[in-house]
Assembly symmetry: C2
Homo-oligomer: 146 residues x 2
Amino acid sequence: MRITRHSDYALRTLMYLALKQGSVVTINEIAERYGISRNHLTKVVNRLHQLGYLRATRGKNGGLTLASAPGQISVGAVFRDMESSLAVVECVDEPGACVLSPSCRLQGLFNQAQAAFLAQLDAHTLADLLPPETGRQLRDLLAIER
Amino acid sequence: MRITRHSDYALRTLMYLALKQGSVVTINEIAERYGISRNHLTKVVNRLHQLGYLRATRGKNGGLTLASAPGQISVGAVFRDMESSLAVVECVDEPGACVLSPSCRLQGLFNQAQAAFLAQLDAHTLADLLPPETGRQLRDLLAIER
């Protein structure tokens, strides 16, 4: 049971931009600091831009910034937007996948468990992940100048 | 975000055996009724047997039965036993995977969300998934004779 790389990279990208506090950032910079694939990250950034989480400016000094304040960005919303499917078991999005589906209580239990999972994420914004002292530590780890 | 096929098949196998109410069942029968791969199912059944969830008898009329009453089998315990990793994000089981790890609050939030997910599964046993009316419906769907 693991979240997709899409959600993981999306949340890390938004955290990076929040830590930069409005300075413009390039995809290359984020990929380098996290040591992750530039190609994968580009897809994630494009999606975040389409979804309205990022503002992108073109040109020599262009790059990315957050479109909203970190306190306005729900971790649960990003997760829901970026996961390709929220189905914990295949029968949720493929009703023909299991003969039990019409009367199965396991499916309902997994939906209930997932709702509890999402409720935790929904209760937190990007700002909650980055209180001042944590922000300082993460800027040091990412070599972000203050 | 999806559970592994191992957990899915394990829970369906245990439900099948519970619905058979102590009658001996073969792997072939379970694979056929669910329309799933016999090879994959065999691995899952071997693991369930190792873990003590199943009793297996050899010989011409041999097969599988539950080792405990359905009310004694926790859905959460089966899930924890069968998932190859409970790490929702890779940094939980590979600390070097992300530069943020030493100070990251996202990791903590995902651990908290997963605890909420598991708490729901822990609160249910196999018997809770199979109350009498549901049991009747599932026996019909699986063509289990009464």
